[in-house]
């Protein structure tokens, strides 16, 4: 499922929200991550629907707090509602977001089939974010945060994170 770009008819609010990042992957704005579902601006009050990435992701509370702060700085109050349905998927990470992830050294999610093969020990198709080699290997299905798996490159020997596919 691909989401259409969110329209916010208030440039000031838009800019403030764009400044809020995922604290665990600070190169991604909350729009890149695809967690902002709806924004309604009513005079100096903003109502926002957010969708969690992983149920227990501690970043969600931080993101909500950062949104309140960013909006307070430009004189807006905010109310944030967490919406579960439809559930977030890694497909909602924007094209821009995927590029930023790769540039940051985290391999962007491929698709479920690729994940499945790799995670049950099949050949990896992931390119090393350091040297581009596909001679890579899964080290752990779970990484430093809920959204990542850990890989290593057998050519340059560097470890790298993979933003696992969630569908």
């Amino acid at each position: 499922m691909v989401r259409e770009a969110l329209q916010i008819n208030n440039p000031e609010v838009q800019r403030a929200l764009e400044s809020v990042c995922d604290p665990e992957v600070p190169v991604l704005s909350i729009f890149d991550l695809g967690v902002v579902r709806k924004v309604d601006v009513l005079e100096k009050h903003v109502q926002i629907d957010l969708t969690p990435t992983y149920s227990g992701c501690p970043a969600m509370d931080t993101i909500a707090m950062d949104i309140m702060t960013a909006l307070a700085e430009i004189g807006y109050t905010a109310k944030i509602k967490h919406v579960l349905s439809p559930a977030w998927t890694t497909d909602w990470i924007s094209e821009e977001g995927r590029k930023k992830l790769e540039a940051y050294g985290i391999a962007a999610p491929r698709n479920q089939q690729v994940d499945k093969r790799i995670l049950i020990g099949g050949a990896s198709e992931l390119e090393c974010t350091n040297c581009g080699s596909t001679n890579t290997q899964l080290v752990s299905e779970f990484g430093s945060t809920a959204c990542k798996a850990l890989f290593r490159c057998l050519d340059c020997l560097e470890p790298f994170d993979y933003f696992k596919c969630l569908k």
Binding site: P52, Y54, S55, G56, C57, P58, L84, S85, P86, A87, W88, T89, K116, L119, I120, G121, V139, S140, E141, F142, G143, S144, A146, L150, K164, L166, K167
Partner: protein
């Protein structure tokens, strides 16, 4: 009906919460760095799912009921988790077998609950199943690896299966609340997925060169609030902060 729905949400949440707590006990004690991180990540996902169930339960209850009151301030008899998830960590084979038996059940349960006539339950299930699918892949891979691994890992894993499988039967014995709510299209009647569960479980165990014990099912009534002594130890640690410093917040 509202009262039953409230209890049902507690049961769903308690299963995940008690297992999540067991996994959290392994933080810093996993057999390797990767498995340590994996088990605590699974714990975190489960706690997230619990929050969703308990937030909804608190909303139903109204008044000053919160997710935290529900999680921390009940007595032992008011927890409705199945006996399987409260079993101690003992060794890694037990941790993995307990996880596998639960994940397989939870996956089938969430698949049913995605179709629940209760919209909030359906939304939580649709969110959680993506994570549970991943957990199941992890635990079934480890079952295969341990079962078909070394002689020692095989012996330990078979012992874990022998000890834990008899607790699985409880998952499929519908409580009065499950029966009533499944008639209303809200809950799952666990009996309906038993055959599929046994089939899926058998497939993984065969690949792992493990066999299901023919021991009789253990009499277990966790869903009715009757627990083994294990839960008491869990709760004394789990509730310590709230009991010592009432209403503290993190």
């Amino acid at each position: 009906m509202k009262e039953q729905l409230y209890s049902y949400l507690l049961m769903l949440g308690d299963n995940s919460m008690i297992l999540a707590h067991r996994l959290s006990e392994l933080c810093g004690h996993g057999p390797s760095l990767e498995t340590d991180i994996a088990l605590t990540n699974i714990s975190l996902d489960l706690f997230g799912q619990v929050r969703n169930f308990f937030q909804y339960a608190a909303e139903l209850k109204g008044g000053d009921c919160t997710e935290d009151n529900i999680a921390y301030l009940r007595t032992e008899r008011e927890y409705y988790n199945c006996i399987l998830v409260e079993q101690a960590n003992t060794d890694f084979a037990h941790v993995i077998a307990r996880q596998f038996f639960f994940d397989q059940f939870q996956y089938l349960q969430l698949k049913q609950l995605e179709k629940s006539s209760d919209e909030t339950i359906a939304a939580i299930a649709a969110k959680s199943i993506k994570e549970t699918r991943y957990h199941l892949r992890f635990s079934s891979e480890w079952m295969r690896r341990l079962g078909a691994g070394t002689e020692e890992s095989h012996i330990k894993t078979q012992a874990a299966v022998d000890r834990l499988y008899p607790f699985v039967d409880e998952l499929f014995t519908a409580s009065a609340i499950e029966k009533a709510l499944s008639d209303a299209g809200i809950a799952m009647d666990p009996g309906t997925v038993k055959a599929e569960y046994e089939q899926e479980t058998k497939t993984v165990l065969e690949e792992a060169s493990l066999i299901l014990p023919d021991a009789a099912p253990r009499f277990a009534q966790g869903k009715q609030g009757m627990h083994t002594e294990q839960l008491g130890y869990i709760l004394s640690e789990f509730q310590y902060m709230q009991r010592a410093y009432p209403n503290m917040e993190w």
